[in-house]
Amino acid sequence: MDFSFSHEQEQFRDSLARFLRDKSPTSAVRKLMATDRGYDPAVWRQLCDDLGVAGLHLPEDVGGSGYGPVELGIALEEQGRALLCAPYLASAVMAGYAVLLGGTEAQRAELLPGIAGGTTIATLAVTESEGLWRAGDVRLAATASGDGFRLNGRKRFVVDGQNADLLVVAGRTGKGVSLFAVDAAAEGVSRRAVPPMDPTRKLAEIVFDDAPSRLLGAEGEAPLEAILDAVLVAFAHEMIGGAQALLDSAVAYAKLRVQFGRPIGSFQAIKHRCADLLVQVELAKAAVYQAAQLLADGEDATVAASQAKAVAAEAYMHAARECIQFHGGIGFTWENDTHLWFKRAKSSEVFLGAPREHRERMLQAMGV
């Protein structure tokens, strides 16, 4: 098992970080978050065409780069750090993994190239009311009709649901829960943007009213847990990237800000809290990187994935609180950038299951 990044991986990180510094400064984030679409198609195209990030984790034969969870993690960590506005988590990660893990070979060949190339914006709609996916919570009804299925029901908290061309939807038939591919423009699909706590990540509620769909993979065999593991690991990378950005910002400000004739970063109470925060962020990073490595090695990653989500979410929220606190009054203003990450942190804390739920999932996966 690898415990460090290769030179090539570090190079990829650097080039992506450079790109994001250039294309996703907070001025751009603020502009995009105020729009309905929420991202810049030109930047998205460059990201997909020049850096090939959308297909990083997808096989080469479907247009991907054939890398794995570790490289995908690097991409998300840097995006989280830069708070990039893009349908990356929704399309490349969530829908990408859903088709990769849940589709037949033919379906992968058909659907993944668009996702890998970033020309199709896809998303995954599982959640109805609970954050942590459990097959038992899926109620949306799927009924066979011709060579497809008709869907009836409602999905909530669909990331970039408004932007998506392709919806991968978890629905229930008599055989259990399956995944279905739905053309977002199809009749019977009505999408409604809902106002997100985190304005940099758009959310939609989607109602399916006898909407036509195609079954992905085998009926009743949606690999929800496997998809969740893979998505969690990627998502946890995004969180530690954000946590690191907040730690960096808090420390930089503490060194700069002078009160009582000295930088507040020379006050021991601030120093010690920064040290504690660093410890928490570093431990979370170790957990997240290791989860990616386990996934890459084909090992059972459920314990590590849930652990990664839990510790990353807590480190992120802690970093967000401390960063605001060290900034003082200015840290609570709209003008200051800290709240952008704070809101992402808060939103990420509950998305895909709260830390509390993942701690329980972790134990159950250990057989405890």
């Binding site: 706590m197 609180r321 709240h339």
Partner: protein, 413 residues
């Protein structure tokens, strides 16, 4: 004493019977009140008061309430202005300003904090330079709630850069309605805009508006701050008249609404402990034994903090407090709010991803989550409170100081 209080009660009651008319304008009424000395009965008789003890004020307020009559204006920092001027102002200043404080015809704001000196108020760098027969002010202030409505500001500015930081400051009353003063609202991360930035560019203060001595501004500011800390200015008003008819009530409701507007999110900032059980029942989280632990922890902490505050209030009355107990309460309030925010998140689950009307309770829950971070900053950060607690309640040594020389040489932002 009691007999005396009953005489006062009789007197104000008679006076109200004769003078209170809901058809009057608010200004007209309050001028009557001021002229009669009932607007601030504990103030000196020379300055619109009656030299009465605080116990008499309570009697007067009871009678005003009983008659449904409106008292002197209280909104904003006007009471801080009054307390400061009563203690440090010249006779002319008291005559000029105190009436407007009471009638509400003139509004006030406090211009102490600066972008570069938040925790460290005495590090102010707004510059006041004497030029001919006036003071010329240049600098920037921030974190005041009412500058956009204010007629006058309580200004702390540096007049001497060669003195140590606390000794080079002077206190002024500045006319906010002049071209050199620009007020901009400052939006917060929760979307509200409760605070202002004030930019002063060659703004002018007349020498007779200096309060206290040149270089004595810090002492004067301490008076303002002491009254602020004692909660004098914090008594926000609520309209309890349930919509009584009459021009004066309409005007009063409008006044209160404007005054309270910056504070609408303050209950959310404190964490809305009151909503927790109801919400947990709604969402079913009440059956989750893990969340129950945090709910119980929160309720216990909140209850303990309330009991602590009541014990402290008793001790204060008995003269057995150091004045630093408020810092304990403030730190407790930060704990409560943070924990409440966590509990609301746990109860709310994935719905915490929403804001605005789709967020639970029409956005109140979302507003809690993005408002709580202010509790541990506003009114003195938790770090400052911990310094106070350790130095004043535990008598621990002070931090070494790096800002004792001439202010010119002190490192600053």
């Amino acid at each position: 004493m009691d007999a005396n209080l009953e005489e006062i009660r009789a007197e104000i009651r008679a006076w109200l019977a004769e003078n209170w008319r809901p058809e009057r304008s608010l200004v007209e009424w309050r001028n009557l009140l001021v002229d009669a000395g009932w607007a601030a009965p504990d103030w000196p008789a020379d300055y619109y008061g009656r030299d009465l003890p605080p116990s008499a004020v309570a009697v007067v307020n009871e009678e005003l309430a009983a008659a449904g009559a409106i008292g002197a204006a209280k909104a904003g920092v006007r009471n801080l202005a009054a307390a400061t001027l009563l203690e440090h102002g010249t006779d002319a200043q008291k005559r000029r300003y105190l009436r407007g404080v009471l009638t509400g015809e003139e509004a006030w704001c406090q211009l102490f904090s600066e972008p570069g000196s938040g925790s460290d108020l005495a590090g102010a760098t707004t510059r006041a330079v004497r030029q001919g027969n006036q003071w010329v002010i240049n600098g920037q202030k921030v974190w005041n709630t009412s500058a956009h409505h204010a007629d006058f500001g309580l200004l702390l500015a540096r007049t001497d850069w060669d003195q140590p930081k606390h000794k080079g400051l002077t206190y002024f009353v500045i006319d906010m309605r002049q071209p050199g003063v620009e007020v901009r609202q400052l939006r917060q991360m929760n979307g509200h805009a409760s605070f202002n930035e004030v930019f002063m560019t060659d703004a002018v203060v007349h020498p007779e508006d200096m309060v206290g001595k040149e270089g004595g501004g810090w002492q004067v500011a301490m008076t303002t701050l002491a009254h602020e800390r004692s909660g004098f200015a914090r008594s926000r008003e609520s309209v309890e008249d349930g919509g009584r008819p009459g021009r004066i009530y309409d005007e009063y409701r409008e006044e209160v609404a404007v005054a309270n507007e910056p504070y609408v999110w303050y209950p959310q900032r404190a964490g809305r402990v009151d909503l927790v059980i109801e919400r947990a029942k709604q969402t079913g989280a009440i059956d989750d034994s893990v969340i129950r632990q945090d709910i119980a922890r929160l309720l216990a902490l909140h209850q303990s903090a309330q009991w602590y505050a009541r014990r402290t209030a008793e001790a204060r009355k008995a003269g057995r407090t150091t004045g630093a107990e408020g810092s304990v309460s403030k730190l407790a309030a930060s704990h409560v709010a943070r924990l409440a925010s966590d509990v609301h998140t746990a109860i709310t689950g994935i719905e915490a991803m929403l804001t605005g009307p789709e967020s639970p309770l029409d956005g109140v829950i979302a507003e809690i989550l993005v408002s709580v971070p202010a509790v541990s900053i506003a009114g003195g950060t938790d770090e400052i409170q911990r310094n106070i607690v350790s130095e004043r309640l535990l008598d621990m040594p002070k931090e070494p100081r790096f800002d004792t020389g001439p202010f010119r040489d002190v490192k600053r932002n």
